[in-house]
């Protein structure tokens, strides 16, 4: 690929430009999804963790993130952050999308949007109680030493890629759009941070009602819309495989919403709007690694299973006593693992599916256990690496600047204490004005 002359494909390029904008919109969508689930006193802080990640990760990605994840000088685990520092020297024939005829800078932006949302996803497990400064420091370090190496290992030609160690010894792991890189990664990091930072005051005793469910529904809708760019864009081109990924992204998500609602109806007696929004996200997460590698039946099965499994998994935090506030673990870690493992059962190279060289069909499609084994190894590596390194980063921040706000700030509300703002005008909150300019 690298030695061939670059030939621009304007159709593919137009689609990847569009897909990048779609995926970027997912992060503000996530801000609404998360923001609606917290209480009025911390909605702005919750949304700002997503917006803060957009700012910081976007800059780091251009400076050294892309180079370390997708540069050509890497080993099996990480690339060279200085090879294309600031994108200097990155030519179109050297980019990740060269074979699709998509210019290198488009590849950089598309991948930047993935890095941004992965960091933002983590914030759901530490709602209402995290110092914003600590979050920003964490985001920069985590991106650099957790996200970048995992992206390199899976997509940048490393250990778990179709040419890496796992492919040579078991079968080529399939992670089309980020089941391991994005969702298992963010979910394991969310679990690690929730354990380090501790439970919110009153967790499991006082009700912490979502303050704005229409925001949550709006966020889920924006996520779904953007996710078409996330999954179908991961083909790097406008073709039949992109169409397959697009269709699977729709139908698996529809099914997951239905099964989540059915699970709730049976368990709690009500089919809730929060359940519909959650089921949508669970389905999107689970189909992400599998979007290109399944036929329609496989996609429906993956969505249906993910809806039930994630609806049950969100109860774990009350059993084990960790405060994963907005269910990053229950939805993203569990959903990511579910989708990644189910590839081992339902993968097929029929019906426009994309297949890396060296991948096998799933167990139910006559391929035996090989692919399931490769998927399990890929999931295990992502969980372990992300969890362990996140604990180390989190501990270092906890011991130096501190992760958590004071109890007083937490009770009175992080919006006012940290950002100097409140989201809503309430009785008694009329103000007088002074201009600082």
């Amino acid at each position: 690929m690298a030695m061939s002359e670059f030939a621009l494909n304007s159709g593919n390029t137009a689609w990847m430009l569009t897909a990048s904008a779609l995926v970027l919109l997912m992060t503000p969508g996530l801000a609404f999804f998360y923001g609606g689930m917290v209480r009025t006193k911390s909605v702005l802080n919750m949304m700002m963790m997503s917006f803060g990640a957009m700012g910081l990760v976007g800059v780091i990605w251009v400076l050294w993130g892309y180079s370390a994840a997708f540069g050509t000088q890497g080993n099996a685990f990480v690339g060279n952050p200085f090879q294309y520092f600031g994108l200097v020297g990155l030519t179109d024939d050297k980019s990740l999308m060269a074979a699709s005829g998509v210019p290198s800078l488009v590849a950089v932006v598309f991948q930047a949007t993935f890095a941004i949302i992965t960091v933002a996803l983590i914030s759901g497990s530490i709602a209402d109680r995290t110092k914003f400064s600590a979050w920003m420091v964490f985001s920069g370090i985590w991106l650099t030493i957790v996200y970048v190496p995992i992206a390199h290992m899976v997509w940048g030609g490393g250990f778990e890629s179709p040419t890496g160690w796992v492919a040579q010894h078991i079968s080529a792991p399939i992670d089309f759009a980020g089941g391991t890189v994005v969702h298992i990664n963010a979910g394991a990091a969310g679990l690690a941070l929730a354990l380090l930072i501790g439970v919110r005051k009153g967790f499991g005793k006082e009700p912490m009602r979502p303050h704005n469910l229409p925001f949550v529904m709006l966020g889920a809708a924006l996520l779904w819309f953007g996710w078409f760019g996330f999954n179908a864009g991961s083909e790097f081109g406008a073709d039949g495989v992109a169409g397959r990924a697009w269709l699977n992204t729709m139908v698996a998500t529809c099914m997951a919403m239905l099964t989540w609602l059915a699970t709730e109806k049976i368990r709690d007696g009500h089919a809730t709007s929060l359940g519909a929004a959650s089921g949508i996200v669970a389905g999107l997460v689970a189909i992400t690694p599998a979007a290109s590698a399944m036929d329609s039946f496989g996609a429906i099965a993956v969505g249906g299973i993910a809806g039930v499994v994630c609806a049950l998994a969100i109860g774990l935090k009350y059993k084990f006593g960790y405060d994963d506030s907005l269910d990053v673990v229950g939805v993203h870690l569990v959903g990511g693992i579910t989708g990644t493992l189910l590839i081992g059962l339902f993968a097929t190279h029929h019906q426009s599916a994309w297949y890396p060289v060296g991948a096998s069909d799933g167990l139910l499609y006559g391929g035996g256990f090989k692919q399931l084994g490769a998927q399990a190894v890929a999931a295990l590596i992502a969980v372990t690496y992300s969890f362990v390194v996140t604990i180390i980063i989190g501990l270092a921040i906890k011991k130096t600047m501190g992760l958590r706000t004071s109890e007083e700030v937490e009770v009175s509300g992080v919006d006012l204490a940290i950002h100097g703002e409140t989201a809503y005008e309430t009785i008694g909150s009329r103000a007088t004005m002074e201009v600082n300019a």
Partner: protein
């Protein structure tokens, strides 16, 4: 003079207003309230976690009346607000020492 206060189900307000007007009441104060009695609250479910909400929405109707009208006004509120289910509310009457009409400065029964 008396102050008759009724705490009623919000969906009964329109009927109570009609009944009060029919009983000759010419003004009232209505406000949103929340509380509970024997009805207690209700439960809500968010991602499988059940929350009990103690305070439920109610409407408070207040009417200032002459002493001899208090019983009829109380009966009008009861008649219009009653559904027979738990949660219908309460009506009570308390004596009022003085009433003044702000526009004219009148005091006592003329101000009603």
């Amino acid at each position: 003079m008396k102050l008759v206060t009724g705490i009623i189900q919000p969906h009964r307000l329109d009927d109570v207003k009609v009944a009060l007007e029919a009983a000759g009441v010419r003004g009232m104060t209505v406000s949103e309230a929340s509380g509970y009695g024997r009805q207690r609250g209700h439960t809500e479910v968010y991602r499988g976690a059940e929350y009990t909400v103690d305070l439920v929405p109610k409407v408070r109707v207040e009417v200032l009346v002459a002493d001899e009208d208090a019983a009829a006004v109380t009966q009008a509120i009861i008649g219009a607000a009653q559904t027979g289910k738990i949660g219908d509310g309460k009506v009570w009457t308390i004596p009022v020492e003085d009433v003044a009409r702000v526009r004219t400065g009148e005091h006592g029964p003329e101000a009603l």
